[in-house]
């Protein structure tokens, strides 16, 4: 018997954090403008000490001002999607569930678009404006997950195939609505392009206040999900089992659905619908670290961050000076892996 201890949890997270750090440094270095590692280290140190005026050259300023925020955004988006995916897989007892496959990301996109459309007509206070889109996206995500959950039931029980099918149907239906809205409102400058909402893209810059909303939202929602980690372990064995082992199934289900919808909404409102991260990262982490959610949730967060930083770096470098949407990158790598898992009869 070797049960999980806090020490072993920290050790694993530390290893993943180190990998993430290396990936971030490489991502900062790669791009149209080359920088030396030494110069990069120096610049980062200056940024940390808040002495941005001491940066060695204008090029370096570009690296710090443009690449660093984009990488930080990739980290939060990747971690959010991976944690949301882990939660949906446990709650729906379906190893192939994730925000994108279930149509939750599309629901969040639609929620965000509708909020952007409605915003000028509503008297939204300025302080509230920054969080309006993430909230709209979260509501869209929550509505979609509820719909898919009920569509995926058969004879009062969740059916794995029906669930995935209703996810696919929701995705195509919601995508059609998104296309309709964006086409009819093409003149509006504040609505980003179709590919952003359907494929996912990290290239657009954000208001600084949104960074804080994202970071805090991610930490709170993930923290809430983490408090239910051992309940989720038991839910995997079935709701009846969990009930007999003292899990308040209804409460856990509601809390985790809401938190996972918020995570999806946050990620989608700033990056559009990036697929496969929430599906594959938890799988890989499960293969490496086992299926205990006390370790799976934090390691998936790190894994998601690493995956999206790598994907976005590839997306902006392999066809430079053009750029691919990051969602195309994750789909290129993710779809074959998804099929492989399907064939392994994991479901």
């Amino acid at each position: 018997m070797r049960p999980l201890t806090l020490q072993r949890l920290f050790l694993r997270c530390a290893v993943l954090a180190a990998i993430l750090f290396v990936v971030v440094v490489i991502a900062l270095k790669l791009g149209a403008v080359q920088v030396s590692l030494y110069g990069l280290g120096l610049d980062l140190l200056h940024v940390l000490l808040r002495r941005t005026t001491a940066l060695s050259s204008n090029y370096d300023m570009i690296v710090i001002d443009i690449r660093l925020p984009r990488i930080l955004l990739s980290i939060v988006v990747g971690a959010s999607l991976a944690v949301a995916g882990t939660s949906f897989q446990a709650l729906l007892r379906n190893p192939l569930a994730d925000p994108y496959v279930l149509g939750v990301s599309s629901g969040a996109s639609l929620g965000a678009i509708l909020t952007l459309i409605a915003e000028p007509y509503l008297a939204v206070p300025l302080a509230f404006a920054a969080v309006a889109t993430p909230i709209g996206a979260s509501l869209g995500a929550a509505a979609t997950v509820t719909a898919v959950y009920f569509l995926g039931r058969r004879d009062g029980q969740l059916d794995s195939n029906t669930l995935l099918l209703s996810g696919i149907i929701s995705t195509s239906f919601l995508s059609a609505i998104i296309m309709f809205l964006i086409t009819t409102l093409a003149g509006r400058g504040d609505l980003r392009g179709m590919s952003f909402w359907l494929m996912g893209d990290l290239s657009s810059s954000l208001q600084p206040s949104l960074h804080w909303v994202l970071g805090i939202g991610f930490l709170v929602a993930t923290g809430v999900i983490y408090t239910t980690a051992s309940d989720l372990n038991l839910l995997l064995a079935g709701e009846k089992e969990a009930m007999h082992l003292g899990v308040d199934v209804r409460r856990v289900r509601i809390v985790v659905y809401i938190a996972a919808s918020i995570l999806t909404g946050l990620a989608v409102s700033v990056s559009g619908a990036i697929g496969y991260v929430g599906l594959l990262v938890p799988h890989v982490m499960r293969l490496i670290f086992g299926s205990d959610h006390r370790i799976l949730i934090p390691t998936s967060a790190f894994g998601g961050a690493i995956a999206v930083v790598i994907a976005d770096t590839l997306a902006r470098t392999i066809v430079a000076p053009s750029e691919l949407p990051v969602g195309a990158m994750t789909a290129l790598a993710g779809a074959p892996l998804f099929i492989y898992l399907l064939r392994r009869k994991f479901a």
Binding site: L6, T228, L236, H244, G246
Partner: protein, 282 residues
């Protein structure tokens, strides 16, 4: 909730009654406006620590429903189930799981886990949400595996052990909950006869040693007669007879309930033994 107590403050009049099922009934309907598809009529029985009660009946007689009502995961339509004076359905889930353990027909696993991980799940009702297993939890889990004779399975994967071994590990998880009441839903269903006897021998020894009250749902007439102290005979949601095997096992009654001709003798242990008579009604 206030438990019914006598003047000395002890729950109920007979202080050694642990489980008291009092006139519980249940109705299941897919649609509230329609007549219920299934009803369980008022059933009652009582059990002491160390006692094994078998809920016996053919398929669709309401055995598993009665067990769920006893477990407190479902609210009865009327009546109540008291465990040491507390209504089981009103207990908080965590507290309930500290007192009542359930072994279900099968425990499907979505992702593989090792036997010791599985048994440690039984400690869940005792842990706080962000706490890791303590030395004490590990000792209890190890002890539970030893009590069912499955220490050697500790590091094996749950999906790679035999049905009989798996059933022992599931029982060990229930023991790790340190319950007062142990409920088992058809625990011998997919087991060969050797594993069935082995499991029930273990169960009888544990009930005697640890003073569990055990309620087993089964349709195995002979195993119930051999191992149970009390039989609750159900047919189509009606509790026909409650009592020791010798009182319940009457030929006409069992023939009518199980819809098959049979004869009843006495086994070497002095308990009734049922022999089916194939072809007698064709």
């Amino acid at each position: 909730m206030p438990a019914p107590t006598n003047s000395a403050g002890n729950p109920l009049t007979a202080s050694d009654i642990r489980l008291s099922v009092e006139q519980v009934s249940y109705a299941y309907s897919a649609n509230p406006t329609q007549a219920p598809l299934f009803t369980l009529e008022a059933s009652s029985f009582q059990a002491r620590p160390g006692e094994i009660v078998a809920i016996l009946g053919p398929n669709a007689s309401g055995k598993s429903t009665l067990l769920k009502l006893i477990a407190g995961v479902q609210a009865p339509l009327s009546g109540r189930v008291l465990l040491d004076g507390f209504i089981t359905h009103s207990l908080a889930p965590r507290i309930r799981a500290q007192r009542i353990a359930m072994v279900q027909q099968d425990s499907p696993l979505l992702f593989p886990s090792r036997a010791w991980e599985f048994v440690l799940q039984g400690r869940h009702p005792y842990s706080r949400s962000l706490r890791f297993e303590t030395e004490n939890d590990i000792n209890i889990a190890r002890n539970a595996l030893a009590q069912v004779g499955a220490e050697h399975l500790s590091d094996r994967w749950m999906d790679q052990i035999s049905g009989g071994e798996k059933q022992r590990v599931i029982l060990a998880r229930a023991l790790a909950q340190q319950p007062l009441l142990l409920l088992l839903d058809e625990p011998t269903l997919h087991l060969d006869i050797g594993s069935q006897v082995g499991l029930l021998d273990t169960l009888r020894r544990l009930a005697a040693e640890n003073r569990y009250t055990v309620v087993v749902v089964t349709h195995e007439l002979n195993l119930a007669a051999e191992y149970a102290d009390q039989i609750v005979l159900l047919q189509k949601g009606r509790s026909l007879r409650v009592g020791p095997p010798s009182a319940v096992y009457q030929r006409e009654l069992l023939e009518q309930v199980f819809q098959t001709p049979l004869s009843i003798e006495s086994s070497p242990s002095g308990r009734p033994r049922v022999t089916i008579l194939p072809g007698a009604n064709s």
